[in-house]
């Protein structure tokens, strides 16, 4: 995805077990922070179809 032009911090991947609540919180916090820093996604946004 990065190769195609998606920012490095926009896509995250993690393994969290259902027993790892603390890790879950930690991951979510880090992901939200990273993505918020990047701002709204400009790519993979579909414009409304142009109608005449």
């Amino acid at each position: 995805m990065e190769y195609m032009g998606i920012e490095r911090d926009r896509l995250h991947m993690s393994w969290v077990s259902s027993a790892e609540a603390t890790k879950f919180i930690d991951v979510v916090t880090r992901v939200t922070e990273a993505v918020r820093a990047l701002g709204p996604n400009q790519h993979f946004v579909k414009q409304k179809a142009k109608v005449a």
């Binding site: 995805m1 990065e2 190769y3 195609m4 032009g5 998606i6 920012e7 490095r8 995250h12 991947m13 993690s14 393994w15 991951v27 880090r30 790519h43 993979f44 946004v45 579909k46 414009q47 179809a49």
Partner: protein
Amino acid sequence: MSGYTEKMRDIAGRLLKECAVDMVIGFRKGTMPMMNEPCFVTKPEDVQSLVWDSNCGINLANYLANRKEKIAIFAKGCDSRNIVTHITENKIERDQLHIVGVPCTGMIDKRKITGMVAGEILEVSETENTIKVKTSDAETLLDKKDVLQQNCALCIHRNPVIHDEMVADPVQEQTDIDRYAEIHKIEEMETEDKWRFFDDLLSPCIRCYACRNACPLCYCPTCFVDESKPQWVGKGQDPIDVRTFHLLRAYHCAGRCTDCGACERACPVGINMRLLTRKLEKDCQEQFGWEAGLSPDQRPALDVYKANDPEAFIK
């Protein structure tokens, strides 16, 4: 390579006469220059239609998936690797196949040649190292190595990796080739430039799916782009849908693609979608030391777990 033709007819005739196989898959002359087409021979008297030259770029492994009969197939290096992939993925049994290996010195790029001469091409003939192109006004002699398909110029597996018999002695493999120079260049671009680069690359796409149909790996009964319940991706030419299609198609080929170039060859608008599949090929090789289709005894990279698999992307 055009010298193989006679030998191939002999082999096909022999196999069909002996009833060793029910069908031979090879090539016959197309109706236009540089457009050989796949040919399925079932009767010994029809073997004369078989030909071989530098226009046999279509990947014949594409016609093997789910076949039930005994088949003889002519296989170049890349075809043979796709046959191995088919065997590994249970799309065909090894016992059903009689693989006739064809050492390959590369296929020529019809688009490149058309661009190099003026006027309509009437006839193309070849010797070992040259290609002679005849148009209504002139005859041009081209060096074969200048007009190879790009994937053939970068090929490091010209000889079949699996075969029951060979049409000729193996050819010399190319060494000292940087297969990924272009990929490195894209990797070094800024994020926004990458996005624009692929926007430009894919903008001519008309969603005809010729790349998918030519690809031996794309054998799903219903492709994700054709499904409507649920509809995974829009069916029009919206740039996002086009990109989604190409991105996902490439991912479906991850660790399986042999860079046979069938997709690019089939594309009516000349998109080099191999820039996507080759990136995945490169990653597979760098991270898992895996090259697709080299031996039926190896399990594919996405099929095995090793304790030392790279996992830096998991946070």
